[in-house]
């Protein structure tokens, strides 16, 4: 039999794109194994990865059709009818009938790749056209094995392992052929197995016992819809009658003929490729839906964790800004010294410059006060000492307004938010940092803060210098100072030449020099005061501006770095699921599936 060409082999299927998507799914699902929800996604992936891989590798291999249904629904009778001979024991002698699965294959079909020993299957060959291009498996029933939760009561059925066996066979099946009767189409135990194995597997539905039971197909379809399964076609036939006719070589009855035609058109040759491809697409879609189902309740908590990190960071930065600002404001002498040193260093060559250098040199003789605290040391341009270990580490950041209690408060809040998002160790640490973590994060914080503060102070100082240092001002100062020297010396010269030599008045000895020196120094100090007050003006405002920039500098990050990283990684994981979903949807949109009579799990739930 050759499949008719009317059905496309899943035209538009982008094999390379799908391979890429599978690769992405694999990488993504394994990318955050420290996060339990991601681990669950990975476990889900491990369940489908093998099947997706096989579907791609075995694109043109014949399909394995598993015949599934409750006991007594006539699975074996149907298999016998399809096989054209008595291959599987059927009948009403004792329930359950089929214990070991029977695999029906055509003589020329190689089924060595099926793990027949693993499922304890018996293989029979058949020449019947209906099974010429498929592998048919008569499966055990799921409804005679008791619930494992029930205590064993020494009943004969305690040894019944039919459902376990079924669950070993079904993973090998590509297509499920569901057989039901009027008594069994609403069976809960069958529905449970179908729900577990329908993802990525096309379904064929058959109502048997047509000669005895009423037609329940409409109600069955409704029931399937309720379970989230689409069933475009449900076949209805009488297995016994079909088998009798097949054995006698008679023309098959219409229902059976329709089933055989359906198998031939939808499962054989190019159609098999199509089934595998759409099945793989469906399976990937199902996996992503499951993954989204896992992640959905965590979206909000993950976002909350991120915003919690942000607000705790702001809180700590606020504390830090206030403390640093206070410290900077009260360190007036240190500021003055920095500003002076800066100015003095740049003014050379004039008498006033010489005067400034001289006062600075004299000032240097004055014993400098040891700069106090962290901010004082930074202001004084001194290096930052690494924090002491243990409690000393906390004390060293208390100077910048942060205490152990504040940090623990933030971390405690974040531990709660993280727990809500399923994030725990090792992705994040605990509320109380251990000694090593305290040491290292405090060191990083101090180092960063020192660098940031030093840069800020340098910038502030240079801004003020640029503002105050105009050539005119300098010239004015130099001229004014020089004028005073000239004036004082001129007066002395006048007194000497005019008064002493010319008018003959007595000299005042060296006294005039002392007088001159006093005036010059006084004048110099006045000028110096004017210059420096100009530089100092508006310092407080500038300090506020400097500190306002602190929150952007991410100085407190080391204290909550684990939470920030966890928030980012989990958010990225969740966002990646949406991206992959969109990619899958784009791939699926390009595939023209044609019309199919096969049932399947609805793409978007019931």
């Amino acid at each position: 039999m050759t499949p008719p060409d009317s059905l496309p082999a899943a035209a538009g299927f982008d094999d390379a794109g799908f391979d890429e998507l599978v690769g992405s799914l694999d990488r993504w699902s394994g990318s955050l194994s420290e996060w339990p929800p991601a681990r669950r996604v990975r476990a889900e992936w491990d369940g489908v990865a093998g099947r997706l891989d096989r579907a791609r590798r075995e694109l043109s291999r014949v399909l394995v059709v598993g015949v599934v249904g409750g006991t007594g629904t006539g699975k074996s009778t149907l298999v016998n009818a399809l096989a054209g001979r008595d291959v599987s024991p059927a009948g009403d002698v004792a329930r359950p009938t089929t214990v070991a699965p029977v695999v029906v294959v055509a003589r020329d079909v190689d089924c060595s790749w099926l793990d027949l020993a693993g499922i304890g299957a018996r293989v029979v060959t058949s020449d019947a056209p209906a099974v010429a291009n498929i592998v048919l498996v008569d499966c055990p029933d799921p409804d005679t094995q008791g619930d494992d939760a029930a205590p064993a009561a020494g009943r004969p059925s305690d040894s019944n392992r039919n459902r376990d066996l079924l669950e070993r066979i079904l993973p090998a099946c590509d297509v499920l052929l569901l057989v039901a009767t009027a008594q069994k189409y609403r069976s809960w135990s069958v529905a449970r197995e179908v729900a577990a194995y329908a993802p990525g597997r096309p379904l064929i539905f058959v109502q048997t016992h047509a000669s005895r039971d009423a037609d329940i197909r409409d109600d069955w379809r409704r029931e399937l819809e309720r379970q989230g399964i689409e069933a475009p076609v449900i076949h209805r036939l009488d297995g016994l009658e079909a088998f009798r006719r097949a054995a006698a070589g008679l023309e098959p009855e219409a229902g059976f003929l329709a089933l055989v035609r359906s198998i031939d058109e939808e499962l054989v040759g190019r159609a098999a490729r199509r089934v595998r491809r759409t099945g793989a697409l469906d399976l990937a879609g199902w996996f992503l839906r499951q993954a989204q189902g896992q992640l959905e309740p965590l979206r909000q908590p993950v976002a909350d964790l991120a915003s919690g990190v942000e607000s705790e960071r702001r809180r700590l930065e606020g504390l830090m800004s206030r403390a640093v600002e206070t410290k900077l404001r009260v360190s007036r002498p240190a500021w003055q010294r920095v500003l002076e040193d800066e100015l003095v260093e740049r003014w050379h060559g004039g008498p006033f410059s010489m005067f400034l250098h001289a006062t600075a040199a004299l000032g240097a003789l004055w014993p400098r006060l040891r700069p106090g605290g962290f901010v004082g040391r930074v202001l004084a341009g001194q290096g930052i000492a690494p924090p002491a270990s243990g409690d000393g580490a906390w004390q060293s950041i208390e100077e910048v307004g942060l205490s152990e209690a504040d940090v623990e408060q933030s971390r405690s809040v974040l531990v709660g938010l993280a727990a809500r998002a399923g994030v725990g160790e090792p992705l994040v640490g605990r509320t109380r940092l251990d000694a090593a973590a305290v040491q290292s994060s405090v060191a990083t914080l101090l180092e960063r803060t020192g660098r940031w503060l030093a840069a800020g102070i340098d910038r502030l100082v240079s801004e003020r210098r640029d503002r105050s240092e105009s050539r005119v001002a300098r010239l004015v100062c130099e001229v004014a100072f020089a004028a005073m020297i000239v004036a004082v010396l001129g007066r002395a010269a006048w007194n000497f030449f005019h008064g002493h030599l010319w008018l003959g008045q007595g000299t005042s000895g060296g006294g005039f020099l002392q007088e001159a020196l006093v005036w010059i120094v006084l004048w110099g100090l006045v000028l110096r005061w004017l210059v420096f007050s100009r530089i100092r003006a508006g310092l407080a405002r500038d300090v506020t501006r400097l500190v306002d920039r602190l929150p952007g500098a991410r100085l407190v990050d080391p204290l909550v770095a684990d939470f920030a990283a966890a928030a980012e990684r989990t958010a990225a994981f969740v966002a990646e699921a949406d991206r992959l979903d969109a990619r899958l949807a784009a791939l699926a949109a390009r595939v023209d599936e044609g019309r199919s009579s096969l049932g399947r799990l609805a793409r978007r739930g019931p």
Binding site: A94, R95, D143, T144, R155, D219, S311, S412, G416
Partner: protein, 629 residues
């Protein structure tokens, strides 16, 4: 029928039971919420909203023994089986009227339908007979089909033909194996309430696990089973029925009273004239000739014997040591022991040491001075005023010079430091709760929702709010100081004189105290200081933390160092102050963080030793002894 059963006239037996049954029900009802809390009883599954769950002892106790132990002895016969096996058809035939619509689609009967003999409707309380169901009078045969999921209604109708035996109630039940789990549950509730079960089996379903389990539970509860094999290819399959029945009996442990076969026949089914072929040879009788009237056979059964047997069977399920109420009590006790371990873990883990900063001594001392003021001599007071003014002046100078800070500054700083310490204590406490929940799944279940879903930032905000609202010296504390001092002075009148003497020394030295305030040492303070300050017996502050005795070197210190007996008093006063401050933390923990969680742990840990458990055990023991006698 079981030959071990006593003669049916033993009616006094279940009259004696009815008291015991009532008390057992009462005890079970009182313990049930606790058992659910302890996880002994799984919460009912979402898809199975039903009256009373399971075929277990509770189903028998509440569904059978309680409603039937006292009232008029009626016999309830229920027709049960899998989907689409013809239960409704058989019920209709037995009732002699179409009370329940029989349809080709499966699982259509969602509500049980009861057919009552004439005039019984007014006498019997159906709501009590079928606990959990609401009785609704029959309107038409579609009644059985309707009803939303979770609607627990039993439809009833009095037999229109008048054929039904006077004490027999016939019930058509929903299926026991379909995809609607609510149907299973309703069927189980009816099964528990009935005495006789007409088990409708078919060739396809007699060995399905769900069907087996349903009837096995019925057999275990002493129900009388009548087996009907429906849709048999008659007579072709007649020879097979023996094998099917043997399997069914071996699987369920049932001993059917009788077995019938109903041939598959569309025409007769449509006309509701199906034939019941008795197969007495399968239950040890002589082969019968032809079809019989099953309704008549049922009517002829020995009602009293069946009834007593059903009641005894139900009671046997309740007293069964492996699966009965006793086992349930065992599980409650075991679970309770687990909670005792959790309680121990919590007590060990959740203990935090908060080291509060040294209290500003002047606060407490001011209170002491205020108490002493009226008891001092005039000269003393005058002198004291002079020095107080001098001290104020010196303090002002000191502050100007930057050597001293103002009292306000110190208090602000103290408050900030104290808040920090309290916050650190809260963080530590939460961390320890997290740790305890990690180590113990039971604690995780109780504390988890609080720890995970709670808004921790709000907890800290609440702590801050309470701290800010707390005055430095509260009225409570003033009262506490006065009571302590009054008590002390009445107990030690001589010492008080010493205090007064000491004060004149103290008042001279007083100007120096603001400078010399230093930590003198740590002292363990007796819990008496906390009298009346506990918030709950569960969150308790044991006040064993270090209270820095802020005694100055001179001035007040002179008192503390020189006068024996005063020092413990002063320490207690300081401790009382710190205790009151720390109430901010314990209060936040109790009111905001923990809520009722500790009470929950406590209640669960104590569950096993409740008197209900012991009483129920005694009743069960007595009942079992009587049953065996």
């Amino acid at each position: 029928m079981d030959s071990r059963d006593p003669p049916p006239d033993d009616a006094s037996l279940h009259a004696a039971w009815s008291g015991r049954v009532g008390e057992l029900c009462d005890l079970a009802e009182r313990l049930l919420p606790l058992a659910m809390e302890l996880g002994v009883d799984p919460p009912p599954p979402d898809d199975a909203a039903g009256p009373i769950d399971g075929g277990d002892w509770r189903g028998q106790l509440f569904g059978k023994l309680r409603p039937q132990a006292g009232g008029e002895p009626v016999l309830v016969a229920a027709v049960c089986g899998g989907t689409n096996t013809g239960k409704s058809l058989i019920t209709n035939v037995l009732a002699g009227a179409e009370i329940s619509r029989s349809l080709p689609e499966a699982a259509r009967t969602r509500r049980p339908v009861a057919s009552l003999p004439r005039a019984l409707g007014g006498r019997v309380d159906l709501a009590a007979l079928f606990p959990g169901f609401t009785p609704v009078p029959w309107a038409d045969e579609e009644d059985a089909l309707g009803g939303a999921e979770g609607d627990d209604v039993v439809v009833w109708r009095e037999d229109p033909g008048g054929r039904q035996p006077a004490r027999l109630i016939l019930v058509d039940t929903p299926d026991v194996d379909g995809t609607l789990r609510g149907n299973w549950q309703r069927a189980e509730a009816i099964r528990n309430a009935c005495d006789v079960i007409v088990a409708v089996l078919t060739q396809q379903k007699y060995n399905d696990a769900a069907v087996r389990d349903f009837f096995a539970a019925a057999a275990a509860a002493g129900k009388t089973l009548v087996v009907v094999f429906n849709m048999v290819d008659w007579p072709a399959q007649r020879g097979r029925i023996g094998g099917w029945l043997a399997t069914f009996v071996a699987e369920t442990g049932a001993a059917p009273l009788a077995v019938y076969a109903v041939p598959h026949d569309f025409a007769r089914a449509a006309a509701a004239t199906i034939e019941f072929h008795p197969l007495p040879e399968l239950v040890g009788g002589a082969p019968a000739a032809g079809p019989v009237d099953l309704a008549a056979e049922l009517a002829g059964a020995d009602f009293d014997r069946i009834k007593v047997r059903a009641m005894r069977g139900a009671f046997r399920v309740v007293v069964d040591p492996q699966a009965g109420m006793g086992a349930w009590l065992d599980r409650i006790e075991a679970a309770s022991r687990g909670w005792q371990d959790s309680r121990r873990l919590l007590a060990e883990e959740a203990r935090v040491r908060v080291e509060l900063p040294a209290a500003p001594g002047d606060l407490v001392w001011n209170e002491i001075w205020n108490w002493l003021e009226p008891r001092r001599s005039r000269i003393d007071v005058g002198l004291s005023r002079v020095y107080r003014a001098a001290s104020g002046g010196m303090a002002w100078l000191g502050r100007r010079a930057g050597l001293l800070r103002s009292a306000e500054d110190r208090r602000d700083e103290f408050a900030a430091e104290e808040l920090r310490a309290l916050k650190a204590g809260l963080a530590d406490f939460i961390d320890r709760l997290d740790g305890a929940a990690r180590r113990d799944p039971r604690l995780a279940a109780v504390l988890g929702p609080t720890l995970v879903a709670g808004d921790r930032a709000a907890w800290y905000a609440e702590l801050e709010r309470r701290h800010a609202a707390l005055p430095m010296i509260s009225d409570d504390y003033r009262t506490f100081v006065r009571t302590e001092l009054d008590r002390f002075s009445s107990e030690n009148p001589n010492v008080l004189r010493v205090v007064l003497t000491g004060l004149s020394v103290g008042s001279v030295a007083r100007p120096c105290i603001t400078v010399g305030l230093l930590v003198a040492g740590a002292a363990a303070v007796p819990a008496a200081a906390a009298a009346g300050h506990g918030i709950s017996t569960l969150v308790h502050t044991s006040f064993d933390y270090v209270v820095w005795a802020a005694a100055p070197l001179v001035g007040e210190g002179v008192l503390g160092l020189t006068v024996a007996g005063i020092r413990p008093l002063v320490e207690r006063l300081f401790a009382g102050w710190s205790a009151e401050r720390s109430r901010v933390l314990t209060g936040t923990l109790h009111d905001v963080v923990l809520g009722d969680r500790l009470e929950v742990v406590e209640r669960r840990a104590a569950a096993g030793s409740r008197e209900e458990v012991a009483r129920a055990r005694r009743l069960l023991l007595d009942g079992a002894r009587e049953l065996d006698a």
